[in-house]
Amino acid sequence: MFGYIMPEKPELKIKEFDMYRAYYCGVCKSIGRRHGQIKRMTLTYDAAFLALLLCSILNVETKVKKERCMVHPTKKSFVIYNEIIDYSSDINIILAYNNIIDKWKDDKSKIALVGLVGLKRAYKKLHSKYSTKCDIINRRLEELSILEKNNCDSMDAAAEPFAKLMEEVLDYEKLDDNTRQILRWMGYNLGKWIYLIDAFDDLEDDIKNSSYNPLLSHFKYNGNDVCEFKDNIKEQVEFTLLYCLGEASKAFQLLAAKENKEILENILYIGMLSKTDKILCQRSCVKGEKSI
């Protein structure tokens, strides 16, 4: 479900792209340093976005270094070090762990089990550090699995727990109340968008495996052609998706974002919109994005 929040690379300036990558690499290295190298595999674009967003509104002491990395040993690139990067890497691990638990419950696959065992210790440590946040995230995921079990037939209701989860993810305690309120609304809408775009993206698979999908239940799928079904529901789903993005970007406008505003705007206004268009229209949607 993660990894949909990413920039539209062709619309970034080269210096902006370098900066984005510095954050992305920063989170990746922070995971390796603080939780173990192998866990760097769980890195998502969402964590890089979180780091960019919070760094843009908080004044934190930041170090920039030019380093090599295991994945790309030939070239040196910029890497950012600060406390927000560390926070984002923690959140990345918490979400990855919950995601894998979810997978394990779904299909009991061996890969999920390996991941689960690997992440368990790191997660336990983080759980004691962010106990309230972890508990809320757990509760939301429980709510979600209950809704899924009961075959919830309203897409708004089904998306609610995940939206509330992202609300918690974006909320950073050290900020003032107003900013936190804005971040929570932004998180809510981003979460809703992620949940629904993922549901639309998974339609074919879920039909094949006859698993739960909020859109199949909401629009009462009766076994006819998938493409036809998609065409029929597209407009209505698009309405909600775009509305979420609109609200998230309105919330963003109210934040006093200073650094990297252009990159964040690129993600919110172009990257996520083009993702929406691609998934809704299935226009040459390349699955499994590569790391940058």
Binding site: E8, E11, S154, M155, D156, A157, E160, A163, N178, Q181, I182, W185, Y188, N189, K192, Q236, F239, T240, L242, Y243, C244, L245, G246, E247, S249, K250, A251, Q253, L254, E265, N266, Y269, I270, L273, S274, D277
Partner: protein, 212 residues
């Protein structure tokens, strides 16, 4: 007071033209119209006030006051309270109460009160739509408001809200294309956009394309 240059997002010593341009952009951005159905509307109002103050400070009282009062005048006409008093008078006391809760951001209370009302008329569906809107349940919101419009097609308020919801998405898309994103056939989009604007103008009593 915050540094007015910072508030307007310009360099210190910017020319009058630059100040004006930045001011106009920001007023458009934080205009109450944009945040009418948004739970952050109070914060947007505050932001607009800051922008007004900064502009006033930089351009000198006289000039600024004129601009401010102009915008304040518009603010007033868009404030949620006023629209309530002008439209809500026809409804029963409970509906008025629900509206009050919605305006104060007390969504839970608005919701539970609305559920107790047994008359399911157009206004009931409209208010239910507004509540869903504030909760972020956009699909339910648009369904309920559409229902209200169908039940009472002559009601200007219901229709207006529905139009606003639709134009919000166009606005978001517009913002992306302004930044260089183009999806596909732009000519077709342009026609639709013109047609939409024309319809919206006509809704408000004006006209954009006089021949149709």
């Amino acid at each position: 007071m915050k540094n007015p240059y910072e508030v307007l997002g310009i360099k210190e010593g910017a020319s009058e033209e630059e100040i004006k341009r930045a001011y106009r952009e920001l007023v458009k951005k934080y205009h109450p119209d944009q945040y009418q159905d948004n739970p952050l509307s109070k914060l947007a109002e505050e932001k607009l006030r800051e922008v007004n103050e900064a502009y006033e400070y930089l351009t000198g009282k006289g000039n600024g006051a004129k601009a401010t009062s102009g915008w304040n005048g518009r603010n007033a006409s868009y404030s949620p309270n006023q629209s309530t008093s002008s439209y809500g008078s026809g409804g029963s006391d409970s509906f008025a109460q629900v509206r009050m809760y919605i305006n104060n951001g007390n969504i839970l209370q608005a919701e539970s009160l609305l559920e107790t009302i047994s008359i399911k008329n157009a206004e009931w569906f409209y208010l239910r739509g507004l509540i869903f809107m504030k909760k972020g349940w956009y699909n339910e919101a648009s369904m309920n408001i559409k229902q209200a419009v169908n039940m009472d097609p002559t009601n200007f308020e219901y229709r207006n809200t529905l139009n606003r919801m639709n134009s919000s998405n166009n606005m978001y898309r517009g913002n992306a294309s302004y930044r260089g994103y183009n999806s596909s056939p732009s000519f077709c989009d342009m026609c639709t956009f013109l047609w939409c604007s024309d319809t919206m103008c006509e809704c408000c009593g004006g006209d954009l394309i006089s021949c149709c």
